[in-house]
Amino acid sequence: MKTLDFLFQRLLKAILVVLGVVILNFMLIHMAPGDPASVLAGEAGAGDAKYIAQLRAQFGLDQPLYWQLWTYLQGVLTGDLGFSYRNQVPVMTLILERLPATLLLTGCAFVFSLVLGIALGVIAAYKRGSIADSLVMTSALVFYATPLFWIALMAVLVFSLHLDWLPPFDMESIGTGYTGWARAADIAHHLVLPTVTLGLFFTAVYTRLTRASMLEVMALDFVKTARAKGVPKAQVIRRHVLRNAILPVFTFASMQAGQLVGGAVLTETVFAWPGIGRLMFDALLQRDYPVLLGVFLVTAAVVVIVNLIADLMYRFVDPRIEAAN
């Protein structure tokens, strides 16, 4: 029951957060100079004032801002995210076309960075002071400090252009007509570079975080007691230290969801990955308000949901939280 109450409260908060994000974004976007009508008129090459006014009326931009917001919110509540001024298709269609690619990429990057980061962190802590520790920590520092776009470009140059091991861009081979497992393998092949590129920064973060947290826990008395009682070191690490040390990593991982979408804009650009990050970037340049707001709403919802799941998971990972409640 307690869990249900908790879930209900968190859901309510989540909805309010998403609503707040929508309203805030709506106001921010409209504060920026320029609007879709002037951008479109510019592209048409000769937007006279009459034409721009015609476009504004067509898009509803001639209405007072509060009315535009009210109309938008009404749409959102009925599942209608509006109509893209530029692409001339419903925003929901555009987002649904692109969201799976981003979820696949960010999901893989998330798993990759989390698994590898924790594993390397454990190794570094376990072998503290060894060459392996130095190697892991130096690499982590390098990847933590290196800009994502540079890693991406270097990865393309080395692994695609020179070694020809991996495809440099696209989500799948175009025009091959692959289906089933062949298509899955093709997508997996294309996933390698963007996943690793996007995941390396977070791998570095998890590695450092896990190592620090592990070393802190390893110094506690209960660990010494366990060792004194003759429990093998590997078992102590796995069953006692790691379970206690993992909580900060877990907290950071739940925050990673939002940052991954941010990173995906860059990764999707370099690797021509047909995801939502690039859609958002283009919409921003073109002042395509409905698309921007739609993407913000969906990403906010994803972040909120991930955090909600993380909150629930805490209680399983660390039963003390449930007991404290």
């Binding site: 510019g42 048409a44 034409y51 721009i52 470009l153 175009i174 025009g175 370099v270």
Partner: protein, 527 residues
């Protein structure tokens, strides 16, 4: 007015004459079959060229839709959906005879009714450039026969025959649009139906656009190619890699950065051409807001011109991809005249001009608003800031994005800004709009935003536009150019040069003055 694909073509920027294959015409026999891979950058929002004239839209949409005419590299009109045309002696009646056996991609026959609907309804409502022409000059558009269209004008317009290329006059299927729906939300926009050599097979947004041969194309035996792929590769470095690896066969001007051009043209089995931009002839300039001091003083504008080394800009900032502009007309535009005052780089002269005019630069703070189109443009802004600062002005760069730039220009809220114009072959279409005093209209970024007013120039432009005789037009335009350059109505910087790079197995790629926007029915790939 600026235009078609400002952003994408600017990422690469302009000039350097490379070993050209201008208007490459193959001597061999065309071979049928093959797939041509290209890049659409940025991804077009739609392919309906009647509603969007961005460069990539025209590039892809130009394979699907066609216009009445196209234009040679010498800017002479060539047949397209119109096989012939007659202009009455008084310059008031234009009669076009259409090609035979043309069908829309959905099998419906194409006829003069489609042209009349396009000109009189669709484009009049949705196309700002055509609407201006139609409202000002066109009296009636009729179809006396199923294969004939007649335009009657209210008064002569010397540029009228140049107003029928793809970006200005794409023909729209009447049976899909003349049904009372809002053109912008018509479902047909998502499944474009044209008369062109290729049909849309699939568009995977963010990934590629796939076109296939139109088997019912009106030119027997054409097109030669089976399929066209337009890949979406947002990053410029990745686009260079795509060409290098052979994933794509063609790079359009602006697809890659200027420094990559130099490297890629040297690759094995690769050719390049700077041809194919004659109709657009993009020309870059500074807009100096003449509403207030210091730019309301002609001598200050002249001083600014002398303070800037435009050769330096072309050679060092745009990697040689361009040519210093002498005035408002690009050198490939009709009626271009080089007989205009020159403004060579001369800092001493610039300072003397200011001193003679008793202008104290330290009294003025200038906001310099660059075009937000990438590093080269930022570097040009930095260079010009540095030069103007040397004259003693206080100057600061105010960065904006494309939407912000457009808004500030529309509101005349700038001191000094960059812009560029497409010329569309005839000055009445692409040049006059920046200098006519009746085109000082708030709300648009592409008119006479600098507030240049000279009644004599108005008179000459109007005289030339309404001239039936080419000699009269040429004389008027030559005089107008002299006056405008002497007035420094704008600060002309350079003519952009775009390089098309392609594998040499691709034949007949660039044949006309609209370059890669031309439908590729004669393009073929050597085996």
């Amino acid at each position: 007015m600026v235009v078609i694909d400002r952003r994408s073509m600017l990422t690469g920027a302009a000039g350097l004459i490379l070993a050209g294959t201008v208007g490459a015409v193959a001597q061999e026999t065309p071979v049928k079959g093959g797939v041509l891979n290209m890049i659409a950058q940025p991804e077009p929002p739609i392919l309906m060229v009647g509603l969007n004239t961005q460069g990539p839209t025209l590039y892809v949409g130009g394979q699907i839709y066609q216009s009445l005419l196209t234009y040679g590299t010498d800017l002479k009109p060539l047949p397209s959906l119109a096989k012939s045309w007659v202009v009455a002696e008084d310059g008031l009646t234009y009669t076009f005879t259409l090609q035979d056996n043309v069908k829309w991609h959905d099998g419906k026959p194409f006829s003069a009714d489609d042209v009349v609907f396009t000109a009189d309804k669709f484009l009049r409502e949705s196309h700002p450039r055509w609407r201006l022409i139609a409202t000002t000059y066109v009296e009636s558009i009729t179809s006396p026969a199923p294969n004939q269209v007649v335009f009657k004008l209210k008064k002569p317009f010397s540029a009228f025959l140049h107003a029928f290329e793809l970006s200005s006059f794409p023909i729209i299927p009447k049976h899909l649009y003349d049904n009372g729906t809002d053109y912008r939300t018509n479902p047909a926009n998502q499944t474009p139906i044209g008369t062109g050599p290729f049909k849309l097979k699939e568009w995977k947004r963010g990934s590629y656009i796939h076109l296939v041969r139109n088997e019912d194309y009106w030119k027997p035996g054409q097109p030669y190619l089976d399929e066209l792929y337009f890949r979406i590769i947002p990053d410029s470095a990745s686009r260079a890699v795509a060409f290098e690896k052979g994933t794509v066969d063609v790079l359009r001007g602006g697809d890659v950065e200027g420094f990559e051009v130099r490297r890629l043209v040297k690759l094995k089995d690769v050719e390049n051409t700077t041809s194919g931009w004659e109709n657009y002839a993009p020309l870059v300039f500074m807009e100096m807001n003449q509403r207030t001091m210091p730019f309301s003083d002609k001598n200050v504008r002249k001083a600014i011109m002398h303070a800037i080394d435009r050769e330096f800009i072309v050679k060092n900032i745009f990697f040689g991809l361009g040519k210093v502009a002498t005035g408002p007309f690009a050198s490939t535009t009709l009626y271009y005249s080089s007989d205009v005052p020159a403004y060579p780089f001369d800092m001493a002269k610039a300072k003397k001009l200011l001193a003679d005019a008793k202008v104290n630069p330290a009294d003025y703070s200038i906001r310099l608003m660059p075009l937000p189109y990438g590093a080269a443009w930022d570097r040009m802004a930095e260079y010009i800031k540095q030069q103007i600062a040397q004259l003693g002005f206080k100057i600061a760069i105010t960065g904006v994005d494309a939407g912000g730039w457009s808004q500030k220009m529309s509101d005349f809220d700038f001191d000094l800004s960059f812009n560029f114009t497409y010329q569309y072959g005839d000055p009445a279409l692409g040049v006059a709009r920046h200098y006519l005093s009746n085109n000082i209209i708030k709300g648009t970024p592409y008119g006479n935003n600098e507030h240049y007013i000279n009644p004599k120039v108005d008179e000459l432009f109007n005289l030339a536009a309404g001239a039936v005789s080419q000699d009269v037009a040429a004389k008027a335009y030559a005089e107008a150019q002299k006056i405008i350059v002497d007035d420094v109505a704008l600060g002309w910087l350079y003519e952009m040069q775009n390089v098309t790079i392609y594998r040499n197995k691709v034949k007949n790629l660039v044949k006309t003055g609209i370059g890669l926007n031309q439908y590729m029915d004669e393009v073929w790939i050597a085996k």
